[in-house]
């Protein structure tokens, strides 16, 4: 996409290409197997049969950052882990998205302490924040749907500067 991205004004070609690529991207998200605390338990429940994240095409958790395009930060981010998260995020191929799940990863939660990062958006850019402690699986699914809406608005056309 790098060659044609951000080169043309919005026209019938860009919108057509966008609709195809965005449809493909949002319908087949590959989240990374990555959980940090109790939110990860809810994330696992979301992936399992009762809530079935696979209905939204995001059900297969890849064991490697190189094979995934979505990272769900599910839990408390310690400073020691923040370093790892940054490296994992850098290893994910573009385009990539981040969901910050729960109060801890969004803003530190109740852990305003020496060891906890006060929001994962201090080290990586976050697309969707999901409130809750922990959020219910429905909330994660809603967050995923909002991310799909966001992906749907991506474009290769020149952005207004």
């Amino acid at each position: 996409m790098g060659l044609i991205e951000n080169r043309m004004e919005k026209n019938v070609i860009t919108t057509t290409v966008d609709s195809v690529f965005n449809w493909a991207r949002k319908s087949s998200l590959w989240p990374m197997t990555f959980g940090l605390a109790c939110c990860a338990i809810e994330m696992m429940a979301t992936g399992a049969s009762r809530f079935d994240m696979d209905r939204f095409g995001a059900g297969i958790f890849r064991p490697s950052p190189r094979q995934s395009d979505l990272i769900i930060i599910a839990g408390t981010v310690t400073l020691k882990m923040a370093e790892v998260i940054q490296r994992l995020y850098d290893q994910m191929p573009d385009p990539k998205w981040v969901i910050s799940m729960g109060a801890c990863s969004s803003a530190g939660g109740p852990f305003d302490t020496y060891a906890t990062l006060q929001g994962v958006d201090k080290v990586i850019p976050v697309d969707v924040y999901i409130p809750g402690c922990p959020p219910r699986p429905e909330a994660l699914l809603y967050g995923l749907m909002r991310l799909q809406d966001k992906i749907d608005e991506m474009t290769i056309a020149k952005k207004a500067s």
Binding site: L79, Q86, Y114, A115, K122, V123
Partner: protein, 224 residues
């Protein structure tokens, strides 16, 4: 036929018996109702004060009576609190006492449950180390306490119980207490190059090591 009839008869007999009982009970209840109601004020029961648990000095604790005489010299006091035995030891005699607690055939404290510490900021002997020991033979849990000043080095018990290795590393990590004779004394929870000891009382709970953060994390400037 007789076999089938027998239980029926029994059940009928039980039913009638039950009926008569009910009648008798109702009769008793009626008699009770006829009595005039008592109008005296209810007498308040005298309040029994709950005994507040406290530390009591004990001389005849069965565990510490079995200690080797050479070792028992370093015992400063033996206390009881809610059936928990607490023994305070001088720092010099700590290691020998721990060896005896494990190797003494009458005691056999073969399991070190936990090592932790307390910070009494301002005291001459700033730190208090707490060892929880369990004996599978006696089925007993005891607590060994010792005090150490900030510049004192505590003898490591990792040669007595292997599990002390990581437990003492944790104490070193969060309190900065050094252990002599430890095989591998470095931080276990925090990053290796962290500055400061977070569980000390003079360490701000929200204080983050900015030098570590700036050298390890790329903190993003959040878009306005």
């Amino acid at each position: 036929m007789s076999d089938e009839e027998k239980p029926k008869q029994n059940s009928e007999a039980q039913k009638t018996a039950g009926k008569t009982d009910l009648k008798e009970e109702s009769a008793v209840a009626e008699e009770g109702a006829e009595k005039p109601p008592v109008k005296d004020k209810p007498v308040p029961k005298p309040k029994v004060k709950k005994k507040i648990p406290s530390y009591e000095d004990v001389d005849d604790d069965p565990v510490f009576q079995k200690l080797n005489e050479k070792v028992a010299v370093s015992v400063l006091s033996v206390q009881k609190f809610l059936d928990q035995s607490i023994c305070t030891v001088s720092l010099d005699g700590l290691y020998e006492l721990m060896v005896d607690l494990r190797d003494n055939a009458d005691l056999d404290f073969n399991y070190l449950v936990d090592v932790t510490a307390l910070d009494y900021l301002g005291d001459e002997q700033r730190f208090c180390l707490v060892y929880q020991l369990y004996s599978y033979k006696l089925g007993r849990l005891i607590r060994i306490k010792t005090r150490a000043a900030e510049d004192e080095v505590v003898p490591s018990v990792s040669s007595i119980w292997k599990t002390a290795d990581w437990l003492e590393r944790e104490v070193y990590d969060l309190f900065g207490i050094e252990f002599s004779g430890h095989p591998d004394l470095r931080r276990i929870l925090l990053p290796d190059d962290w500055h400061g000891y977070p569980l000390r009382k003079d360490y701000d709970i929200k204080l983050q090591d900015q030098a570590w953060i700036s050298s390890h994390l790329k903190i993003r400037k959040t878009p306005v």
